[in-house]
């Protein structure tokens, strides 16, 4: 963590399986055992029907860019000065949920709405893997 020097997730009882899945390069999301709705972020109860029953399913890892920003002024400055410009996007997975991520392997100004993207797992250190997305090849 000290070597990485950027914000890192603090897994909790709800999210631990998600982050463990990322370590194994699997994008796991919850599917309600009662109503079948998929959800993100992870939560103990289904926000649609209230059921605690759920399965972790492996998402396809494919989706589309719902919205995005290009960070050009780093905040906090000392942490992100070397990274700008970078893209943060909300990606809508084919399964229907949206998650925040970075779009990589793409010029920030080539981003387009609804651009098809696929997950790529970034092993940032020995304990943390962040799912990021890159444009899906034509």
């Amino acid at each position: 963590m000290t070597a990485y020097g950027k914000p890192v997730p603090a897994p909790d009882a709800d999210s631990a399986p998600y982050w463990q899945g990322c370590r194994e390069h699997r994008l796991l999301i919850q599917k309600c055992g009662a109503c079948g709705a998929v959800r993100f972020p992870p939560a103990s109860l289904c926000p649609d029907c209230g059921s605690a029953a759920h399965d972790w399913i492996a998402a396809s890892g494919r989706g589309r860019v719902y919205s995005w920003i290009v960070v050009t002024y780093p905040v906090p400055k000392d942490i992100y000065a070397g990274d700008v410009p970078y893209v943060v996007a909300l990606v809508e997975l084919d399964e229907g949920v949206r998650l925040p991520t970075n779009i990589v392997e793409c010029d920030p100004h080539d981003l387009m709405a609804d651009m098809p993207v696929e997950v790529v797992f970034d092993d940032v250190d020995d304990t943390l893997t962040l799912p990021k997305f890159r444009p899906l090849p034509d």
Binding site: P7, P41, L90, R98, L99, P100
Partner: protein, 385 residues
């Protein structure tokens, strides 16, 4: 729905100087603004029995003001852990507390050393807990970065342009030039907006509000008492607070928000206008929460001043100018007057309705709208003289 139409009033306003470095404590800022509102109403500490505020742990709590002003016995002193979404809600809360018999004269304030002290846009801890664990690790951290995501979605849906955002910035600055207390008074052009540094696309620097050391306060009391006090009462006609489904686990979080091309305003509009008994066409002046240029456009659409997607054209056509159909942010707003988290909009509305706005007075202003909020939740009021 708000059922207290015209039963409560704002009877006093107070404020400090707005600066980048106050050189005093937040407590002193709060006391100065609250003392000002109390004196403006012609009241003494013995008359005040309630205090309400909101903050992000960047201020002093209401009990500190009760103690600092020497109130003989505050019967209602409460703080919201909240951002700009609560800047109108505290006024509503004061009226509700008086209606319930909990107090008679209540001070509402927001005080912060927002530039020299705790800066809201600054950053977060390295260990990202709760919903922040899904955002901060991607360098998605500041409020400008949060709101830019919404703005982009509006651009995708409706073709809203950066030049249309710029029209809001230029309008606010033009109004601020007439306002002695505004922090930024030198005029800007659309070219200045376009040439200003890109902070987080699609936002330029001039799309983003100021950071301010300062405070504002208002004194809320019953309409009956207000009529016996020093100033022309400003009545609370209508009020609403809320948002849609999935408002998130904190103000930043909107992962499950249904559609980022509209915000809370759409969900409170019906209650707001029904509670006031008027509609958008009846508003003479509108002080609209402008933490970013874009939030003005989204609230104009959500509250029904124009259709969804037409907000960009609405602001570009000059309708929000001082001499337009709907003068907006006559004080300069958060973009050019000061960032007192939206309570300065309430103060400005009161001064407009009293006819005390000096060079920036909108002639014949009788009904004002104030709003507070930009993303999943917020509130608004309709005020009249």
């Amino acid at each position: 729905m708000w059922r207290l139409r015209d039963k409560y009033a704002i009877a006093g306003v107070g404020y400090t100087a707005f600066s980048a470095r106050s050189s005093v404590t937040v407590r002193d800022l709060a006391l100065e603004a609250c003392g000002g509102a109390m004196a403006d109403a012609g009241l003494m500490p013995a008359d005040i029995d309630g205090v309400v505020s909101f903050h992000f742990n960047d201020s002093v709590p209401a009990m500190a003001v009760a103690t600092g002003l020497g109130l003989p016995g505050a019967r209602y002193a409460i703080d919201y852990q909240a951002g700009g979404n609560a800047a109108n809600l505290i006024v509503q809360t004061a009226a509700m507390a008086i209606e319930a018999g909990l107090a008679t004269n209540i001070l509402c304030y927001r005080a912060m050393n927002g530039r020299s002290g705790f800066r809201l846009g600054g950053g977060r801890e390295l260990a990202a807990h709760g919903v922040t664990q899904y955002t901060a690790p991607y360098g998605w951290i500041s409020y400008p970065q949060a709101m830019a995501m919404w703005c982009r979605r509006h651009m995708i849906e409706y073709g809203t342009t950066s030049e249309q955002l710029g029209a809001v910035a230029v309008t606010c600055r033009r109004n601020a030039a007439l306002n002695d207390r505004a922090m930024q008074r030198q005029p800007i052009t659309l070219d200045d907006h376009q040439a200003s540094r890109m902070i987080v696309e699609p936002f330029h620097l001039l799309d983003i509000c100021l950071e301010t050391d300062g405070a504002c306060a208002v004194l809320v009391t019953s309409a009956e008492r207000a009529r016996d006090l020093a100033r022309t009462p400003v009545y609370i006609m209508g009020a609403a607070y809320g948002g849609g489904p999935n408002q998130g686990d904190d103000l930043f979080d909107a992962m499950r928000w249904p559609d980022h091309s509209h915000n809370y305003a759409r969900y409170i509009a019906d209650d707001l206008w029904a509670s006031a008994g008027i509609g958008p066409d009846d508003v003479d002046v509108a002080e609209i929460y402008d933490c970013f240029t874009y939030s003005v456009i989204m609230q104009l659409e959500g509250l029904g001043f124009c259709a969804p997607g037409e907000g960009g054209a609405f602001v570009q056509a000059g309708r929000i100018d001082r001499d337009g159909a709907l003068p907006v942010n006559t004080h300069g707003g958060l973009l050019s007057e000061a960032y007192i988290h939206g309570l300065n909009h309430v103060v400005e509305a009161v001064e407009q309705l009293r006819g005390q706005a000096g060079a920036r007075q909108v002639d014949g202003a009788e009904i004002a709208l104030t709003t507070a909020g930009a993303m999943t939740c917020g509130g608004a009021m309709v005020l009249r003289n």
